[in-house]
Structures are given as structure tokens and as C-alpha cells.
Amino acid sequence: MSKSKIFREIFRYLKPYRTLFAFTVLAAVAVVAGQLLAPFFAGKAIDCLVGAGNIDKSGLTLDLIACAASAAGAVLFQWPMTLASNKIAYGVLSDLRVAAFSKLGKLPLRYIDGRAYGDVSSVIVSDAEQFSDGLILGFNQLFTGVLTILGVLGIMLAIRWEIALVVFCITPVSFFVARFISRSTYKTFKAQTEARADEAAFVDEMLAGLKVVKAFGREEENDAVFREKNEALRRASLRAVFFSSTTNPSTRFVNALVYAAVALVGGFLAISTAGMGAPFTVGNLGTFLSYANQYTKPFNEISEVAAEFQNALACAGRIFALIREEEEPSDEGLPALGRVKGEVRAEDVAFSYDKDRSLIEGFRLGVKAGMRVAIVGPTGCGKTTLVNLLMRFYDVDGGAIYVDGQDIRTVTRASLRENYGMVLQETWLKKGTVRENLMMGRTDCTEEEMVEAAKAAKAHAFIMRLPAGYDTVLGEEGVLSAGQKQLLCIARVMLCRPPMLILDEATSNIDTRTERIVQDAFAALMKGRTCFVVAHRLSTIETSDLILVMKAGKIVEQGTHRELLARGGFYSELYRAQFET
């Protein structure tokens, strides 16, 4: 994404906040003015104190009031200004997060399948945050910084151009010093990043496998390895942290030089202009010294913002790329499918994940309502591809799939999926209570219906053993065994009673006895319903009406168990290898 495009996007997201934004800009001017005028009036006040018995009392009072008023004015605007810019920054951040998240529901699965979850979620969460921190809060700092520099220069020029010139010439040095340091610390930071990544990878692996670590009593060996990596990280970090922390003392040093120079030139000027029409007063000197003290701060801040800027822009680029990613073709305006009988037909279907490598070609299938279809083949043969096509997670490249005679691309996806009940190989439960998970497909069902479905899926008994029964919150690690999770997923589908079922190795983690009980329940549910089962189990396969045999992503044979055995092809080979002992 080009920079100008990114900026256009940024402005689009800032637009709803334009009033607030205008306010922050105006408030910033007021704040900077107040902050700069306070020392100016303080300096003038000091000028009123010429010496013993020689004090301009009325001038003093006026100047002190002006000083206090300037300070109060600055504060009066500074708080709302910060609040406003926070509101913009966090508001835009939240808008971006929601926009990116909403995208997840609309992207083709191809996009999600092709990326690591960690990468995508870090765009939505951390990139968004870094962008808002870096660019929006950064802008605020940058703007006030620039205003301060200009304001100080203006006032200094107005009082005495000679000293202004001195300050003007020396101050940028601090800017260059900061730049120089940040450039030369780049290497040490890189070393630190590498050492940190190395340690993190080790920690990640060992914590993920912590139970095995303990089973084998590897704690001490791990400690030893960790100690080594940790020491390497400590060394690298020390260098990076120290070198980067030299910035502040260095700029402070430059600042002190500015201070000294102002004192020198100011002192000389005060002597040479004494008694003249427009003398350089002690108060002027005080004002100047006060400015010199605060003058490098905005320079430091600007250099920090500049360093952050590239990174923030890169983050913004990634978020907008996600938000602008091409969505699944819209199915708006298409009719809904309605409740089907469950007749499924595929004609001349062609499909591949990778355009250069054909996978499925000329695939035909005829499934009558209520038939049970088993999909078999060795691991990794691409059985989930069929599921992807049937549920329209992916669209076919050629040919068409019909449900009850309707091309599934001519109806809405939601209405198609509503007709399927699905239990996938990877059980997926969301963080929430058992109840919330069960009622996912039917938020309107009654307590009785839910319990009934759980009972039918043999999940009721173990749910009742959980600490809070149906209200137990399932966490990321969870107390549930793989089999129990699967039972919950089955109960979830049971509750929906859809006309067609897709079971992707649905019962592989359940022992045969429980599987049998569950399948009895399924059998009742499947009566008059079409069912696709991706299965390894002999009992499931043998009793199916149709078997699709897959190999390396392709459908190589189809027929009944007897037909396929009689044919003596790949299926019979597979059958012998897998089930005969």
C-alpha cells in the first residue's frame, strides 16, 4: 500500500472526529502560548525589582497576575486538549479494530487458512494500537513541539535577535546528536531482538510442553539451557539499553551549552546596552534562560515521534491492507434456500487451492435425500476439501453443486449453511459457558431442549460433573478431554436438527462404546436426512450407502462397500492394510 493511500485511509477514519481534531489544534495553540508567556511575564516581573528601595510595585503586580493567568490559561486548555486527543486516538483505534474484525467474517476462508492466526490477530490488536499511539498521539506531540519551537523563536527574536540567533544555531545540534545515537544503537537493538527471539522460542516450546517436561523430570536441564540463553539476552540487552539511554544526557549536555552561551551573550548584552533606550534587562536574561532550559524538550520529542513514525505507518499499512482485502462475493439480493429435503448433486466440479496445480476435475456425485455418504482415504488425502465445497467455504472453479436442484451459488451462504449440521475434526469451542456453546446454532431454544440434546449426545452426565454444570466457563486450556469437547460439538448440532449433516471424523476421539451410543442418537437424527461422514472407522464406512474414496486430494473411486471391494482397486487395498490384522 502506497503512503498516499495510507494517508487517505487515515483521514477517512479521522473524519468523524474532525470537530474534536480542530479543537485539539486550537487548544494546542492556546496551551503553547500560555506555557511560553508565563516565563515571559515572570522575567518582566523580575525586571521590576531593580534594587533596594527601587521597586516598581504596580508593574510587579500586573506582571505577576499576567504570569499566573498565562499558566492558568495553559492548564485550562491542556487537560481538555489531552482528553480530546485521547478520545480521537482510542476512538480511531476501536473503529479500526472493529472494522478489521468485521472483515474476518467476510473474508474468503482462503485468506484465513493461508495465514498464521497469530499474524492476523497481531495486526488487529497490536498493529492497530501501535498505529494509534504512534501517529495520533504522536501528532499531538509533534504539533505542540513545533508550535513551542516556533513560539520560543518568535518571542526571543522579539526581545533580542542576537541571543535568538545563538540559541537557533546551537539547539539543532541536540537533534543531530539524538539522531546519531539512535542510528548507532540500531545494531545493538538488532542483537537484542535476536537474543530475545531465541529465548522466547525456547520458552514457548517448553511451556507448551510443560506437562511432558515434568513427566521426564527435565526441569533442571531446561533451567541450564535457559540460564545460558538468558545470560546472552542479558548481555545484549545491557548494550542496547545503555546505548539508547545515552540520548538524554547527551541532549541535556547540549542544552547546558545553550544555557551557558545564553548567559555569556546575555551578560555581555546587558552590559553593553545598559542605560540605552532598549536595554537587555536581567529579567530578559531570566526569560531566555528559562526558555533555554525547556527548549530542547520539544526537539527530543520530535525525534522520538520521527523514529516511531515509520513503524506506525507500517502498522497502519498492514491494518488497511486487511480492511481493504477483497471480500467473498456478496450474496445480497440472492434468494434464501429454505429448508431442503437433502438431495445433493455435483456436476463436473473442478477445484484447486493453487491455480497451478489441479486437484479435483470432472467430479460427479449424486446423493439422494437421506443417504449416508462416507468419505475415506489416508490421512492428508484432502477430505476436508469436500467439506469446504459442500458448505461453500470455498467456491468451485468449474461445474456446480446443487442442493435440491438449486445451484448453491444462486442462494445465500447463510441459508445453505443453515441446512447443514457440522462437526469438524478440530473441535472448536468458544470461551464462554457450556450453555453459550451449546446454544450457538439456536439462541432461541429452551432449557429443556438444550438438556435433551446434551443427553442425546451423552454429554449431560459429564457436564453435570463440571464445577458449575451448564454454567461452567470453558477456558483456553480447559478441563475437558478431547472426547468431551467432541461430545459438546455433537450436542450443539443435535440441537439444530438440520436436514443435512457433515461429520468430519466427528467421533474419532471418542471410544467406540461411547461412539456407538452417540451414533445411535445420530441414526435417529439422520433418519430422512442426508449425511456426509469423513471417517476412518470401519463400522461407519461399511454401513454407508455410498463411499467416496480419496487419494492425494482427488476422488479416485465411489460406490458401496461391496462394489468397491469387488472392484479390487485402491479401496480394497486400503481396507486390507487398515482393518485386517
Binding site: T82, Y90, Y117, L210, K211, K431
Partner: protein
């Protein structure tokens, strides 16, 4: 906080030297206004240009010395901060490794990782900044007040009066922000979790047409996070302006008081200038401090989160003495009325389980999902501690054997085949640190894993993270070999042959017979356990039957049912 201080203690020298050098630097800075006062009251008044030049050279000298002191201080601060965080990381890693299975379940991997990485990083920043700025600020503030007293005690009183006010502002903001930053962090975790969940569950969400609901739920979470952030910001944003206002009001008061002193000739104009200079120094310092509050509060809440983990008890450590011995002839593994309930309540996962296994015997454990099979075998190596009854290994109550020794005697093959990045050999050596090539190959032979070794080009063959470059069956056989390498007296197979086909499974069982160790074999397949010396049938945590295959076919209805359910289709 106590953990942080105990780690910091090791860097006591640096932690003291850093602020000390900061103090030196601060002194340099604090002398400046005095010199300026002299420039005004002596140099300018008398028109002595040489005096001014000398004074300015003195200022330059202060600047150079200040730079030197500051750099030294930064170095010690960095050393202490980086060292402390390294120390803290090491302690935390050790602690995490000592947690019990229950605690591991409870905490979850991702929150352990967060503690180890970003939380500790925040603490490091906090320590570094504390040494560099947090300690410097009071020094400067009090130093400036002290110098003001030196110039004029009345003016000094003004500055001294200012200090408690400023301290109150800083403290109040920190006090109010700390718990709110914690709330922000929790909300952020929630947003992150939602995102990951929606990626992992993309298919299920679409299948159940939950896109809109999920979006709405996320919107709510994101909005709540935004509101929380704005709320914290509202308080945090107060510190800067309030400080600025207080300091300027103090300046007004100071000049006013100073005016009276100048009037009677007690002070020169330059002195007032110097006093004003001190206030200006205080202001710059405090604005820096105010910006730091965010870093500090974050560091404090992270330190607490880490401290909570370090305070966890971990596994109870058992010393080798006080062994509870109860040797019974011929018993190797003995369960006596064992019961277990998972933390968090609910019904017991196991109750009143009693059985014995003689040395060299194989005991099959069969039962449905959630019947307590895996729980039962995990009690022997004390991954979970039995909540009732006793378990004996070789006549000693396992609860009186130190965990390390106990687990060293057991070969455990987990349900989930976990391997680690490295080579096949490096993974097998988890079982026995100094295993020879021969020992490893022998273990692989028994585990039917020789073909895996061959396929990967020998024991040096590479294993990717999580064993991703191996199939489920290959991983499973290697984990079995890993347990066998140590030549254990007890082998526990925790439903760990599910990815093996029947033929390999059978060969494995035959090969195990030749090894001679006692075996506890958990399985869902009757075929895997039917040839065991003894079979234990579990049903919802209770023993439903015990005996040989033939005995159970006679006596146990549940066993018969399972047997028929798994075999009858083939007999049709």
C-alpha cells in the same frame, strides 16, 4: 514487590551507584543558577566582562562533568535493570516448571508466556526508569529547595511548601491509575482472545451463521476497552497540567516574596533570578516525572502479576526421608481405595479404586470418555495427587517419594504426542540423558519406530517444533521410544497408541512383553487390552469390573458391551 527487591539486591552496588552519580549530576545542575546570579549581581552590575567569561567557562565545566556523571549513572541503571529482569525471568521460569498439573491447567500456556515476556519487559523498563529518573527527581527537587534556602530562607519556604503538594499530585495520579491500567490490560487480553478464537473457529462460526453475533460481541468488547482507556487517560492527563500550574503559582509567590526582600536590600535581582531558575529546574524535572507515571504504574501492575505466580506454592516437595513403606509380597503397583476430585469441585473423577499389579504384569485400563482412565494413571507419577486413599510403587507410598526420583523410575507416554525441536536423538535423550546409540535404537525397535528413524536419516534426523515434520503415528511411536530409553520399571501408556493401526499396535504389544517392565495400558480399544494380564474396566470413575478377558466376558456386562460394539460389525 518483594521478589523484585530480592532480585534487585544482587545488583545492590549498581542500584546504589546509579542514583549516586545522578546525585552528582544533579549537583552540577543545581550550581548553575548560583553562577547565573553571580553573573547578574557581580558581572553585569560592575560591567566586568572577564568575570562573565570565567563564570560561563565554569558553566561549561559543569556541563562536561554532568555529562560524565550522567553516562556513568545510565550505565549502572541499565546494568541493574537488565540484570534484575534477567534474574526475575530465571526465577519465573523455574517457578513455572515447578507448577503442578492442576496449576498448569488453571493458568494456561498463553498467560505463562505473557508473564515471561511482556510483563518482565515492563518491569525492566520500570526499574531502569526508577533508577534513572524516579530517584533523580526527588534529588533535584529537594536539592533545588535546599539551594533556595541557601539563597534566602523565606523563598526556600515557598519552594518547600510546594514539594508536598507536588508529591500529593504524583502519588494521587499513580494511586488512581494503577488499578485502572490493570483493567485496561484485562480488557485488551479479552479482545485478543476474541480475535484468535474467531480465526481458529472461522468455519464453525460460519456454519452456525454467527458472524453478526460475534461482530456485535467484539464491538462491545472493543468499546469497553476504549472507554476504559479514555477513563485512565482522563486521570493520567491531569498530572502534567496540575504540576505546571502549581510551579507557576509558586513562581508568582516567590517573586512576590523576593520583591519584599529586594526592597529592603536583603537580596539582589540576580538572587531572585536564581530562585526563579530553581523553580524552572523543578518544573522541567516534574514534567519528565509525570510522563513517567504511565511506565511506572504499568511496571507496578506487571510486578504484581509476576509476584502472584512466584508466590504460588508449586508442587509440594517431598524429602527422601519419612518414606511410608508398606511392602506386600509380589506387589509392584498397588492402589488402595484411591479417589480423586479435580480442583474446582464437581463430582469425583475417580472413587474407591483398588487393584494391584505384580512386577512385569500388564494391566489394561478400559472405559468410556470421561470414565477416569487417564486420571487414574496420572496419579501414579503424582502429576495429580490422589485426594483419597494411597498408591504404592514397590511398597512405598508414592506421596512420600520425591517427584524427581518417582518420575525417573516411570516411563510415561502422554495422550498427546509432544516432541521438541532438535533431533530424534535429542528427543530420545529426554528419557535418559546419557543413552547410547544402541540403547536408543533398541528402544525404537520395541516402539516400532525404527522405520521413522530410517525415514529421517538416522538418529540425527531433524525434528521440527512440535514434531510438525512427522505424522501423528510417527510422533506417537517416538514418544513411546522416549519412555523406553530409560528402561523404566513401570511404563504408562496413556491412550497413546490411538494413531497406530491395529497391526502396528499388536506388534508393539508383543515387543513390550519382552522388555519385562510393569505396564499400565490405557486404551479405548478392546483389541489393545484384551491380552493383558489383568483388565480394569472403569465407568464414570468407578471400577466396573476387573479380571482377564475371559473372566470379564463372563462377569462384566459393560465389558461385554464394549467388546461386541467394537467387533460385531466385522462379524456381520
Amino acid at each position: 514487590m518483594k521478589h523484585l527487591f530480592s532480585c534487585l539486591k544482587r545488583y545492590r552496588k549498581e542500584a546504589i551507584l546509579s542514583p549516586l552519580f545522578k546525585l552528582f549530576e544533579a549537583c552540577m545542575e543545581l550550581l548553575v543558577p548560583l553562577v547565573v546570579a553571580e553573573i547578574v549581581d557581580t558581572g553585569v552590575k560592575t560591567g566586568d566582562r572577564m568575570f562573565i567569561v570565567h563564570a560561563v567557562l565554569l558553566l561549561a565545566l559543569f556541563a562536561v562533568l554532568g555529562l560524565g556523571f550522567a553516562l556513568t549513572a545510565q550505565f549502572f541503571a541499565a546494568k541493574a535493570a537488565v540484570g534484575t529482569s534477567a534474574e526475575l525471568r530465571r526465577e519465573l521460569f523455574s517457578k513455572l516448571q515447578s507448577l503442578s498439573y492442576t496449576q498448569i491447567d488453571d493458568m494456561g500456556t498463553s498467560s505463562m508466556l505473557t508473564r515471561m515476556t511482556s510483563d518482565i519487559q515492563q518491569v525492566q523498563n520500570g526499574v531502569n526508569m526508577t533508577l534513572r529518573i524516579f530517584l533523580r527527581s526527588p534529588i533535584i527537587v529537594f536539592g533545588a529547595a535546599g539551594m533556595a534556602f541557601f539563597v534566602d530562607w523565606r523563598a526556600g519556604l515557598v519552594i518547600l511548601g510546594l514539594i508536598p503538594l507536588l508529591a500529593a499530585v504524583v502519588y494521587a495520579v499513580m494511586f488512581l491509575c494503577t488499578p485502572r491500567y490493570k483493567a485496561v490490560q484485562e480488557k485488551l487480553d479479552g479482545v485478543y482472545l476474541s480475535t484468535r478464537e474467531n480465526l481458529a473457529g472461522a468455519r464453525v462460526i460460519r456454519a452456525f451463521r454467527m458472524e453478526e453475533e460475534e461482530r456485535a460481541a467484539f464491538c462491545k468488547k472493543s468499546g469497553a476497552l476504549e472507554r476504559e482507556q479514555v477513563r485512565v487517560g482522563r486521570i493520567a492527563a491531569l498530572s502534567g497540567p496540575v504540576t505546571f500550574l502549581l510551579v507557576n503559582l509558586a513562581a508568582v509567590l516567590l517573586i512576590f516574596v523576593g520583591a519584599g526582600r529586594v526592597e529592603i536590600g536583603a537580596l539582589g535581582q540576580g538572587d531572585v533570578l536564581a530562585l526563579y531558575g530553581y523553580l524552572s529546574i523543578i518544573l522541567v524535572e516534574l514534567i519528565k516525572l509525570a510522563n513517567l507515571i504511565v511506565t511506572m504504574t504499568k511496571a507496578v501492575s506487571c510486578t504484581r502479576r509476576i509476584g502472584a505466580v512466584l508466590d504460588m506454592e508449586g508442587e509440594p516437595s517431598v524429602t527422601a526421608e519419612n518414606r511410608a513403606l508398606d511392602v506386600k509380597e509380589g506387589d509392584h503397583v498397588r492402589f488402595e481405595h484411591v479417589g480423586f476430585t479435580y480442583a474446582g469441585g464437581g463430582a469425583p473423577a475417580l472413587s474407591n479404586v483398588s487393584f494391584t499389579a505384580s512386577r512385569g504384569e500388564t494391566v489394561g485400563i478400559l472405559g468410556g470418555t470421561g470414565s477416569g482412565k487417564s486420571t487414574l494413571v496420572r496419579l501414579v507419577p503424582r502429576f495429580y495427587e490422589a485426594t483419597e486413599g494411597h498408591i504404592f510403587l514397590g511398597g512405598t507410598d508414592v506421596s512420600s517419594i520425591p517427584a524427581g526420583e518417582l518420575r525417573g523410575r516411570i516411563g510415561y507416554v502422554p495422550q498427546k504426542a509432544v516432541l521438541f525441536r532438535g533431533t530424534i536423538a535429542s528427543n530420545l535423550r529426554w528419557g535418559k540423558e546419557d543413552a547410547t546409540e544402541e540403547e536408543m535404537l533398541r528402544a525404537c525397535e520395541v516402539a516400532q519406530a525404527l522405520d521413522v528413524v530410517e525415514a529421517k536419516g538416522g538418529l540425527g534426523g531433524e525434528v521440527a517444533q512440535d514434531g510438525r515434520n512427522l505424522s501423528g503415528g510417527q510422533r506417537q511411536r517416538l514418544t513411546i521410544a522416549r519412555a523406553l530409553v530409560r528402561d523404566p520399571e513401570l511404563l504408562i501408556l496413556d491412550d497413546s497408541s490411538s494413531a497406530l493401526d491395529y497391526a502396528t499396535d499388536a506388534r508393539l504389544r508383543n515387543a513390550l512383553k519382552g522388555v519385562g517392565c510393569t505396564v499400565l495400558l490405557v486404551s479405548q480399544r478392546v483389541a489393545s487390552v484384551m491380552h493383558s494380564d489383568k483388565i480394569l474396566v472403569l465407568d464414570e470413575g468407578h471400577v466396573a469390573g476387573m479380571g482377564t478377558h475371559d473372566e470379564l466376558m463372563q462377569s462384566c456386562a459393560l465389558y461385554r458391551e464394549i467388546y461386541h460394539s467394537q467387533t460385531e460389525v466385522r462379524h456381520e
